[in-house]
Symmetry: C2
Subunit: 272 residues, 2 copies
């Protein structure tokens, strides 16, 4: 399966240089796993996209149109659907055009070839030296300003390291470069609050809800880096990987993963 792209419904692979997504990163995106033609957690992705559009004051594309365009690309296959919504073409200068004429870009990528053992046996993770900046006006949004993630992901090339965790300036863990993080302490879940940094992931949201349904306590709060050492288990979430257990952070190994396995099973049920 090669890349296929629809821009505002047309089969194209190029956007105008004057698109503000290119000029300023003035837009949002969603990364959606597609299994047997079905985009998983579609409604949650659309709800997050709508929240992001509302925050940035970009008109939200019609979700039914997005859905039918997604179906044209996905057919009955598997893959990763990336939806980008930008404020559209503008002139020079930061002042947003009014009214904005958003551009919507939908592209289908092949599923990444992660080792299957990532989900079963866990992944090794590192701590990034690049810190996440704090911007309450953008925190939680999956927006197109992602240079911090690019820099952080450039810190390592060892293919044995699957992810890097990023902290804020006060050394609170916020998230991975491409994932959210949960730790298990005394049989309860904890995940970092995202009021000032980070992306509020769809699987993170699902896990928080699943915990509630299962009667498992899940705290959303600051997680100092040093607390990772005290964790019984750690796992990572995103829409493409689902849930990956962390088997090691540097020298610290994580062996039991009863809670992680339980949440993986619950997430699988939710996907059905």
């Amino acid at each position: 399966m090669s890349l296929q792209t629809l821009i505002n419904g047309e089969a194209r692979e190029e956007i105008p240089v004057l698109d503000r997504g290119f000029q300023y990163g003035d837009g949002l995106f969603e990364t959606i796993k597609v299994a047997a033609g079905k985009p998983e957690f579609w409604d949650r992705h659309m709800a997050r996209l709508a929240r992001g559009c509302a925050t940035l004051k970009i008109p939200m594309p019609d979700a039914a149109t997005l859905r039918s365009e997604a179906q044209i690309l996905c057919k009955d296959g598997d893959g990763v659907l990336k939806i980008i919504v930008t404020r559209g073409v503008g002139g020079r200068g930061y002042n947003p055009p009014s009214p904005a004429m958003p551009n919507r870009i939908i592209a289908l990528f092949p599923l990444p070839d992660y080792p299957k053992t990532n989900a079963s046996e866990g992944v090794a993770v590192r701590i990034c030296t690049t810190k996440l900046s704090e911007q309450p006006a953008l925190a939680g949004l999956k927006h197109l300003n992602r240079l911090e993630q690019v820099i952080a992901r450039s810190e390592w090339s060892d293919s044995g390291i699957a992810e890097g965790l990023m902290c804020d300036d006060a050394d609170n863990v916020i998230e991975g470069t491409m994932s959210n993080v949960f730790i298990v302490r005394s049989g309860a879940l904890v995940t970092p609050g995202l009021a000032r940094s980070g992306v509020a992931g769809i699987i993170r949201e699902a896990v928080i809800e699943l915990a509630k349904v299962l009667g498992i306590e899940c705290a959303v709060r600051a997680v100092p880096l040093a607390e990772l050492d005290q964790a019984e288990e750690i796992f990572l979430t995103n829409s493409v990987i689902g849930i990956w257990p962390v088997k090691a952070i540097s020298a610290r190994k994580f062996v039991p993963r009863a809670m992680t396995t339980r949440m993986q099973a619950a997430l699988s049920e939710m996907r059905k």
Copy 2:
């Protein structure tokens, strides 16, 4: 004069959706004033672009090639030249491709129609509520992640307000949405340090050097917002506007502007 664009030397106006400048804001830009076919402060712009490329580990395009492409667009006219350099096309995921094949985009825009009185009589300025985040790894660079500026610029629509000043979380003034800022105190210049936020502007650099030549003290340090009230004069700088005096910030008026006028004259000489 309408927009004209060269992408890697070819007359085109679209870039691939997979360009990392579009996907992540993974690139840099320069905004250069062109007068009678001559791009002003060319060497300084190229030096900053090279520094940015080095920091982001993007191969710097050949400056002589950029110069000849600029000349094709500028001919003997006036305008604003925008040069964008991105890490080029990549796959899905933050990990930068190696080696990167950068894309260079050069576009010539008409000069903005700012009122002539902006430079002679000064401009009214506001204080933005949007704060600048702190990211030492990116501070000073003119990179493509500019959502904070977009949000800040969206705070006002009153055309009588020419610029908004932005502070960090500790309420230190850092810069305007599109300009750097200088204040005059006891006959000396002060401009905010940019080690953790902000764009190190070309005219800011020139003013700092001019002050040295003229024997005027110029401190680069933190400038608490409250200090603006104590300023004798305030002025803004960028490559297109040159130097604009600030005539008012909210109710506070700034009337004498001997130092601002002196620096405007010195900058004019430097441009020759």
